[in-house]
């Protein structure tokens, strides 16, 4: 609370209420610069040209809510924005009425008419940004690109570059208490990245681990950051002054119980698999490989335990606050 109050005071002092705050500049479309950048097409010469992805608050919440409304189904949609040097800026997203990209490569062909009409109409209400990518959800199994996703994205990058693939996982978001979102671009065919970029480790369920492993070298992740306008900031501060109640009252252990249970079961399967692999001759040498099954199992378990403990700490805090009046902690 203190830092939001300080920020508000600073804002009032600098008296930029009527003027455009610097943080709003990103919303301004500079057609000239954009055209020059697009014509130059520096990404065709350097496959890792785009290193950063900046996503607006509105686009993030829209994607999360769309993913949530799809529940266990994978949903997909289009993202719009523009490019800046080395950065892809996502300003908006909209949903497509198709389900599930895990079995079809060009699910988007079905929604082409929807997309065109929506996009054309949007120009009239001031959305002048172009289509710059697509997003889809992986409910419960992490933010990465599967084989089908890689194929789809490579096709897009061939014909419609600059293009960005965003994956959002709303189940893991709720469970972990932080936003699980990844922005990816694929390498062109045959390109070998110069050095191994450090990747964010995340546990993958057993039935998807094959798919992940085969394709994980074919794309790279962009560094994601979020931005918001000055009005957004104020609204968000006000929202927080009402939301803290639900933060305290949320009970993740209860609401996410089936997700946590499925994770535990998955870990049990991995443990059995690791045990079966122990009998092999080369098992001892494998221990030094950081991709070893047991090491991965240890990391996955660590993650699940962290999530459960954070959820429990919430419950303990509530118990201390509300059930023991007068107790000194």
């Amino acid at each position: 609370m203190a830092d939001s109050e300080a920020a508000l005071k600073r804002f009032l002092l600098s008296n930029e209420v009527k003027e455009l705050a610097p943080s709003d500049e990103i919303f301004r479309v500079n057609a000239e610069e954009h055209r020059k950048l697009v014509q130059g097409a520096p990404w065709s010469r350097d496959p890792t040209y785009f290193k950063y992805a900046r996503i607006s608050a509105t686009a993030l919440i829209k994607m999360l809510m769309h993913a949530k409304s799809g529940a266990k189904h994978e949903i997909m949609g289009i993202i719009r924005g523009r490019i800046l040097p080395n950065t892809m800026v996502v300003t908006d997203s909209f949903a497509l009425p198709v389900e599930g990209t895990e079995t079809r490569v060009n699910a988007q062909a079905q929604a082409n008419e929807y997309m065109c009409t929506y996009h054309e109409d949007s120009r009239r209400v001031g959305r002048q940004d172009n289509v710059i990518g697509w997003y889809h959800s992986h409910p419960g199994y992490g933010c990465w690109l599967s084989g089908i996703d890689v194929t789809t994205q490579t096709t897009h990058q061939q014909y419609e570059d600059p293009y960005l693939a965003v994956v959002v996982d709303h189940v893991r978001t709720i469970s972990a208490g932080r936003v699980e979102l990844g922005a990816f671009r694929t390498y062109p065919q045959g390109y070998k990245p110069a050095d191994e970029p450090p990747s964010q480790y995340q546990p993958i369920p057993l039935n998807k681990i094959e798919d992940f492993g085969v394709h994980c070298r074919q794309y790279y992740a962009l560094e994601v950051s979020y931005f918001r306008s000055s009005l957004d900031s104020h609204l968000l501060n006000r929202l927080w002054s009402r939301y803290w109640v639900s933060t305290l009252s949320s009970n993740t252990l209860f609401s996410q119980s089936d997700y946590l249970l499925s994770q535990s079961r998955d870990l049990a399967d991995k443990l059995e698999q690791a045990e079966a692999g122990m009998g092999r001759q080369s098992a001892l040498m494998d221990a030094l490989d950081s991709d070893d099954r047991v090491a991965k199992l240890a990391r996955d378990t660590g993650r699940l335990v962290t999530e459960e403990l954070s959820a429990l700490s919430g419950l303990l805090i509530k118990d201390l606050l509300f059930n023991r009046p007068g107790a000194k902690p």
Binding site: F11, D24, I61, L96, W244, T247, V305, G314, I317
Partner: protein, 337 residues
């Protein structure tokens, strides 16, 4: 929140009786009329409207920011879930300038059909508008409202709700959201049907994913760092701090009353008493038994996790030892171990 609503409706009704717009009667319902529905608002709607407003200011210059609200209505509860922008009408006779007082009906229908494809359970429950007057409904708004009614009434039986965002007061109002909701009723005034507006109290609808997203974006500027556990605890800590500051406020009020600096308000004192009586919130053997069982379950998982980590460490140790042994054997081929 009840305190908010009563003051809002009180001042609104009072200002309705002395209307500011020259000559025409006010559009507010007479004093004492209670709204018939309760509204729940999703933060996504607020963020989308603010995004629309920022873009309109940057690109168009005019301030006519309006759009349609989508949501669900169940009985007396209206839940506003999503929204989309509406375009002003470009007449074929004059395609360059927009007639900003008319809403483009074709655009509305197409967009509505598109949103229906993706979110089949949502219907149009109202419309939004950005303007800075706090309490009244102006003539422009009333005219636009009539157009919205015509567009929407064929679709659903309920009267649309007006949501107004006050962009400039966002920076100055201390605590409450710069949003006003009005419910409209059709009444006979001087023999002709007219829409009158009643201020509507609202609450924030909470949805886990939305809350985490909002939380993440509002804190992201301060930079991220530290472990996952630290982040989760930091969120809890800021929530507890908010609770603490609220309690501090109540405590200072009580101190002032008991010292005689403020006149006591019995309604507030009764509420405070009720709050204090509610502690402890949960108790009893059953609660604690299941609570401790849940704690034990989580700690069991933690124990298993630690065991697996230890196993992994031993596994790596054995591997390294085997490697060393192997190397030593190769270096001393005569067989020393």
């Amino acid at each position: 929140m009840e305190v908010d609503a009563s003051t809002t409706s009180g001042t609104a009704a009072a200002s309705a009786s002395d209307s500011l717009s020259a000559g025409s009667p006010g559009h507010m319902a007479p004093q004492g009329v209670q709204p018939s529905v309760n509204a729940a608002l999703h933060p996504l709607v607020l963020l989308t409207i603010s995004d629309h407003w920022t873009r309109c200011r940057l690109q168009f210059g005019h301030n006519r920011v309006l759009g349609a609200l989508l949501g669900k209505q169940e009985g007396r509860l209206v839940e506003i879930c999503n929204c989309f922008e509406l375009a002003p009408y470009f007449s074929p006779a004059n395609p360059q300038t927009a007639d900003i007082d008319t809403i483009d009906a074709g655009f509305f229908q197409t967009r509505l059909a598109q949103y229906r494809e993706v979110y089949p359970s949502l219907t149009v429950v109202g419309w939004y508008y950005c303007c800075d007057l706090p309490e009244e409904v102006t003539d422009t708004e009333a005219a636009l409202h009539k157009q919205v009614c015509d567009l929407v009434m064929s679709d659903s039986p309920l009267m649309p709700v007006l949501l107004r965002l006050l962009p400039s007061s966002a920076a100055t109002t201390a605590e409450s959201l710069p949003v006003r909701l009005f419910e409209s009723v059709l009444e006979l005034v001087n023999g002709s049907p007219k829409c009158l507006f009643i201020p509507l109290p609202y609450s924030l609808a909470t949805e886990e994913a939305e809350r985490i997203g909002v939380d993440h974006v509002s804190r992201d500027m301060s930079g991220s760092g530290g472990t996952k556990v630290a982040e989760a605890l930091a969120v809890q800590r800021s929530a507890v701090r908010a609770l603490y500051s609220r309690l501090g406020l109540l405590l200072s009020y009580l101190r002032d009353v008991s010292a005689g600096r403020l006149p006591p308000c019995h309604a507030i004192l009764r509420d405070l008493r009720r709050l204090a009586d509610q502690l402890p919130v949960c108790g009893g053997e059953d609660f604690y038994r299941s609570f401790y069982r849940q704690c034990n379950d989580v700690q069991l998982t933690a124990l298993l996790g630690t065991l697996i980590q230890a196993t992994n460490t031993v596994h790596q140790l054995i591997g390294r030892t085997a490697l060393l042994q192997d190397r030593r054997r190769r270096r001393v081929p005569s067989g020393y171990n």
